[in-house]
Amino acid sequence: MRACANTQGVFCVYKPADVHWKLVRDTIETNLLKGVNATHPQPVPREVRFLVSSSDEPGAAKGLRVSPAAVPVLSKHPLVTGPEFQQIKVGVGHRLDTSSSGVLVLAVGNGNKTLNDLYNTRITRDYTLECEFGMATHDFSHTGRVLERSTYDHISEDKLERVTAMLEGANQKALRMYSTVDMGSQEAYEMAAKGLLGPDGKSAPILTGLRCIHFQPPKFTLEVQCLNETQKYLRKVVHEIGLELRSTAVCKGVRRTRDGLFTLQDALTRHHWSAADVMEAIYKYHSSKRNQKKILFPIRESTLETSGSRLTGTHQNKDAAAG
């Protein structure tokens, strides 16, 4: 399959809530196929065939008249062969479960290799959790079977902040534990100073950052930065916060606002899932990658893969700056 540069790359979409991620991926694939097939119409090749006609008129030359005719070869006709492209490889990055929404990274064609590298590196993701006090359900979300109801008047913002700080501290400790460096060494100190500590590959989910951005009982909103997480784990965290505050809480909405370097700003909404928009997003990604290569500084760490390490480097710095 001939590959155009603008259909190979990585981009992100905004997955709406209550839609399975596979449906999103299939829709994008269908739209891309429509676009690519429409722009590559191949003309039907013609071949020359000879028509034999014997002359029946009396008195005419007694030979055969052979006339050539250019006839289209129907076996190459699009109605017989079908569309030129019948499949495009579209891969999905970190998945989002059905009831969550947010940034979903997809890759087309050769971009799948980049996606693989991205998936394996240690990059954090940003979530916004809309939560509510007063209820506990079996799957920690507001649509589940209610197990318990409780009051929440005693909860103040101060208490909530104390709990989130405690959780953040516990998670930082877990971060240090999962990193493969001996905690007593100079190397560990230097890495921690640069913010390069962390688990390699699979580990338990770790929240590198957790804070409350909006508090209005019974509703409150949390912002989380995490590694190796699942959306169900995040809802469980909300449930545990409720328990710590001697009440109960459920998570009404999980929304991913950032996945690595892809933010909400770059995400394509449902109305922009046509082939042209996707190709434009891929183009933007390629051009931003070109700009970044000029800016980034090299990192000593050799175990991390090259593209991933640059991403982690800039990201951890951003995190440290944001506090």
């Binding site: 014997s54 055969l64 129907l74 076996s75 017989v80 909400l264 909404t269 109305h271």
Partner: protein, 422 residues
């Protein structure tokens, strides 16, 4: 030997697969066919007595061979060695019909042939000069595989397939369905396909729609013409006008494949279940001819859902079906999901939904986005008695830009930004 390789000109033979040279080929090969296994080695120009494996996608062209054999037999009678070839061709014809006992037949022919072999070999040499007419008269056996997974190999040589492609039939879709490819190859254009196409044109179907109809219902080309005529007459007797019948057949290609009894059953069902007048029934069937094609079970379930689960009264259901017949064939889950959102979240009462039934036809995501946007702007007001009322049909049917500028009084970018916060 003026075998296939010595032909001087490429000839355009419409579908003529066999030639005198190929039958001669058969004689020789058959003779050499000592053991059962080598029957497969017979040249590609001959679609012989293979036990063609019956995977459903394989296309069998045996029947066509029979009629081509008749052509070759006529051709052969003009030959010098007429009698012997006649015998051969006759035995050939007999041979092709039964697929079961290939090898015994092959052996029986070989006995006839042995005596002719050497004479034939002496008669024709490759360096002999022949006249132009004779050269033109040699036809090359077509290089077509005996069985294939795709119609691509046969389309250039088969008249039926060529004409179908010119009509606009999507052969690539049809060849994926089991048995359809073989069936299409077996059809003869003049006797099978042309009368049915003429029939469709007589009813009033446009030329451009013929391709669409055959792509979706290729079995219309094997339907009995009398049956088709009977069904059209039945529809006309139920007072459907000719233009309506033409448009119904164009939009529902399977319509004429159902028996008169089944069509009658369905029309009766819609009239009785929904308690509609005859003209109303005709109207909804004309607008959605698919109603007559599918099974009645999902329709019955949908009606029960509307009555019991959604709580609509009979006259309300009647009104909705007359306005938007698609409600009858809609997906049950989607229908209940939209209704649940409308009634419980948007607090729209039953009578308003009955007034605007097209809202049940929309995509759920679209409805939700727009409603939440209006709620955020505090403009979500669907009660006609109060001020700043937004009608449901405008809410769902307007394109995005018009919705933003007229109903929400915001820009399109704001709408897209808002969607990212959901």
């Amino acid at each position: 030997m003026t075998m296939s390789t010595s032909a001087k000109l490429c000839l355009r033979w419409r579908g003529l697969l066999f030639s005198k040279t190929s039958t001669r080929l058969q004689c020789f090969q058959v003779q050499r066919c000592n053991s059962a296994a080598s029957s497969a080695s017979i040249s590609s120009g001959l679609f012989l007595n293979h036990n063609l494996t019956t995977t459903h996608t394989r296309i069998k062209i045996k029947h066509q061979k029979c009629c081509y054999n008749n052509l070759t037999s006529k051709h052969l009678t003009t030959e010098a060695k007429e009698d012997k070839y006649k015998d051969l061709s006759r035995t050939d014809v007999i041979e092709y019909k039964p697929a079961l006992s290939p090898r015994t037949d092959a052996f029986s022919v070989s006995e006839h042939v042995i005596s002719l072999d050497l004479d034939v070999a002496e008669e024709y040499s490759a360096l002999e000069e022949i006249s132009d007419e004779e050269a033109a008269g040699i036809s090359i056996p077509a290089n077509i595989p005996p069985a294939s997974n795709s119609l691509r190999d046969y389309v250039d040589k088969s008249e039926t397939l060529t004409k179908l492609v010119q009509l606009g039939v999507h052969l690539w879709k049809l060849e994926q369905r089991p048995n359809v490819g073989s069936m299409l190859l077996r059809l003869d254009f003049n006797t099978d396909v042309a009368p049915r196409l003429l029939f469709l044109k007589q009813i009033g179907v446009e030329n451009s729609r013929l391709g669409y109809i055959i792509t979706h219902n290729p079995f219309i080309l094997t339907a009995d013409l009398d049956n088709l005529q009977a069904r059209v007459n039945y529809l006309k007797s139920k007072k459907f006008s000719s233009e309506t019948v033409a448009s119904m057949v164009s939009r529902a290609p399977f319509l004429l494949s159902f028996s008169v009894k089944r069509l009658d059953n369905r029309l009766g069902f819609y009239q009785q279940q929904l308690k509609l007048s005859a003209s109303n029934t005709r109207d909804i069937v004309a607008r959605l001819p698919r109603l007559l094609c599918g099974s009645l079970e999902p329709v019955k379930e949908n009606l029960k859902v509307c009555e019991i689960e959604l709580g609509f009264k009979q006259n309300e259901i009647q009104h909705m079906v007359i306005a938007v017949p698609k409600v009858l064939t809609a997906n049950k889950k989607k229908l209940t999901q939209i209704f649940d959102y409308l009634h419980n979240t948007m607090k729209v009462p039953h009578h308003l939904i009955t007034k605007f039934p097209q809202v049940l036809n929309t995509k759920f995501l679209r409805l939700r986005e727009r409603h939440l946007f209006l709620e955020y702007l505090e403009k979500a007001q669907y009660d006609p008695t109060l001020a700043r009322y937004i009608s449901l049909d405008r809410l769902v049917s307007l394109p995005d830009e018009t919705f933003c500028t007229e109903l929400a009084l915001a820009t399109l970018d704001d709408f897209y930004l808002f969607q990212k916060t959901l």
